[in-house]
Symmetry: C2
């Protein structure tokens, strides 16, 4: 049997297009990553945008122009094939959602791997906290909010959040667990009333699938790596490629070792 909890086996399955689903709940406890690919001309403004907004856009790795590998995140990564689904943007307009991007590759493209909330889901599950979307086989629900990013160059726009519903005692535990995982968006940015951050209908997310909410649950919101896609919509760069929301790059790094590997002595 193919063990999808082993990151490099999962990436082989994705590359062979045998695995084509959202990556929530697979890859074991591996750090997962959002992807943003921009021409070198736009890359430095985006890099500053990411630095100014570390909670929604925690940078894990930045490639050399034209490079398809990200060796600090995994030995055999090929960014053209290793995500199950991509999004292609021209002048801020989403034009297609391909399963690979080899034909679109250019020598001036710079790739940004950005931390993802899927990385802390294994830690929440280990603590016995519910993950309703995983239990229901759904993608996590994501929402545009009235929280604003700090702008940089042309990049600006709303903070996008992911939501997980759980009992209050679980939410209190989740805050404590996630506070120690800043490369996976850290502690939640909001909990309780969705209207306070501009979400009018919790059952109709802007990205992902509709939520499962049990009686007694409260919604808990984390900054989300889809935030750059809202900024691309606003900044309208000539060309961009991103992951499709929920279809992530699965790295070889254990999520609870990310700080040590990426910000410690083995750092970038």
């Amino acid at each position: 049997m193919t063990d999808l909890s082993i990151p490099h086996i999962l990436r082989q399955e994705i590359r062979a297009r045998r695995f084509r689903a959202p990556t929530t709940g697979v890859g074991g406890d591996a750090l997962q990553a959002n992807l943003v690919i921009l021409p070198e001309a736009e890359a430095s403004a985006f890099l500053r945008f990411a630095q100014a907004n570390p909670q929604p856009i925690p940078l894990l790795a930045v490639s050399e122009p034209g490079a398809v590998a990200l060796p600090s995140l995994g030995q055999d990564i090929d960014l053209r094939y290793d995500l199950p689904r991509y999004r292609v943007w021209h002048e801020g307009v989403l034009t297609e959602e391909p399963e690979e991007i080899a034909a679109l590759w250019r020598p001036d493209l710079v790739s940004f791997a950005i931390g993802c909330s899927f990385s802390f889901e294994a830690a929440l599950a280990k603590a016995g906290l519910p993950l309703r979307h995983q239990e229901a086989g759904r993608n996590v629900p994501m929402y545009r909010t009235t929280l604003a990013t700090r702008p940089s160059g042309a990049f600006h726009g709303p903070v996008v959040v992911s939501m997980r519903a759980m009992p209050a005692a679980a939410a209190i535990e989740a805050v404590q667990i996630c506070a120690h995982m800043p490369l996976a968006h850290g502690a939640p940015v909001h909990l309780g009333d969705p209207a306070q951050i501009g979400i009018t209908d919790l059952m109709q997310p802007d990205y992902g699938d509709a939520p499962v909410i049990e009686p007694g649950d409260i919604p808990v919101f984390w900054a989300c790596g889809v935030t750059p896609q809202a900024a691309i919509l606003a900044a309208r760069p000539a060309f961009a490629i991103t992951h499709a929301p929920g279809y992530m790059l699965v790295t070889d790094i254990a999520a609870d070792q990310a700080e040590r590997h990426l910000r410690g002595v083995h750092g970038l």
Copy 2:
């Protein structure tokens, strides 16, 4: 001017009965303590009860029988005079609320100092989080809940909680701050819907003053050192003395040094 932020000066003022108010917001960043005094015959069952319920009843110090001092918490403490108000219990019935207990002292009395949520309020204020009861000059509201303590001997009963209302982002920060202060009850036990822990009317607390709740606030609940008083009500020991809710023992130990002093190399 008398500086009530200095614990030993505050205790002198209390001993002279010039300070007779709840101790929220005074004593600087000092660890404050709930007090339970029981005859030696009941003390060992209560000690086990505290050990079994460390979140509502975090033990800071236990006296020798008959001793009125608690040297590990402050050099000149005299438990007969140093709290602004006490409660006296006979067979679980509250019989009086005196301002000193010298006339009631007996050589067989064992005193328990128990961590208090007032200890983390300085840390919350330092982080810029609102403390609505302090701003309004009120005692913190406290409630009996449907959460149950783990029983020991005759001691059992509900967990009592204190409540502070604040915006969701502040609640998320408060969880992170308080998680590192287990001797001051640690992280909240609940937030959001009061009915989930059996509180039917938030505006009518069982102890303390009615809360101040601003629009957009959510209620956040911490385990409270008044829990032993509910257990005394249930266990009906022949005789007991406690502090009056909100009228605490103010120690000489900085709240953020409590772990180091009381559980570290300088420990009990």
